[in-house]
């Protein structure tokens, strides 16, 4: 199972990429994916992070399926 994790703004700068593809052998929850990302890039935790699952704010409890789109970004600052 492959999922894409997207990054924007400061999280894209921290990770050095706008997108990472992750593979999982067994079913995982979105929160597990996000934890894997913050473990791999611990300085992400210096920021006020928000998480999205298939273009909606994530609860962390969604079951992740092949092709899902996850995103990690900082508290928004539009306007």
């Amino acid at each position: 199972m492959k999922v894409n994790v997207l990054f924007f703004g400061v999280t894209a700068d921290v990770v050095g990429k706008r997108q990472i593809e992750l593979s999982f052998e067994r079913p995982v929850k979105s929160g597990d994916v996000f934890r894997q990302i913050t473990d791999r890039f611990p300085t992400l935790n210096d920021h006020r992070l928000l998480f999205a699952f298939n273009q909606e704010y994530s609860t962390g409890n969604e079951i992740v399926s092949d092709g899902d789109e996850l995103a990690v970004f900082s508290a928004v600052s539009g306007g």
Partner: protein
């Protein structure tokens, strides 16, 4: 009537956006013109870069517009946010709310910009003479956390 919800890299014409939809039952349109501030807490900004998670931003803009219709006596909402590089004084966001009576339009417009700044995934980078910085929203404004 369908609301207008857009992201664009083109310059925003506030008057054109405000007047794009004038429902016949309405008597007032309240329009917010958000533009690039030169000085923030005494520090000078040279220009801004706006970036969005575009498909999600459009979904969240739709959600705030729908919620505004549920709460306020309004007829039409336009929300247009600019992306890319913006110079000092250029308009970054226009919110126009048309209503039969002005009071609901003022209230809804203020509510909409507050919600947009809280939930819509758009970020701004301030570019200063001596560096740059992605601006992060308030901790208390988090829509969700994992």
């Amino acid at each position: 009537m369908k609301d207008i919800l857009q992201l664009t890299t083109d310059p925003l014409d506030i008057g054109e956006i405000a007047r794009r939809v004038v429902p016949p039952e309405c008597g007032a349109t309240v329009t917010l013109d958000g533009y690039v501030r030169q000085f923030t807490k005494g520090r000078e900004t040279l220009y801004l870069i706006y970036e969005a998670y575009e498909p999600m931003a459009l979904k969240e803009m739709k959600k705030v517009a729908v919620a505004a219709h549920d709460q306020f006596e309004i007829s039409h909402v336009s929300i247009v946010h600019r992306l890319g590089r913006l110079e000092i004084g250029e308009t970054s966001v226009v919110i126009a709310v048309a209503a039969p009576h002005r009071k609901a339009a003022f209230t809804a417009c203020e509510w909409l910009i507050r919600e947009l700044k809280r939930t819509v995934p758009i970020w701004k980078k301030e570019v200063y003479a001596d560096g740059d910085e992605w601006i992060e929203g308030e901790v208390s404004a988090r829509p969700s956390q994992v």
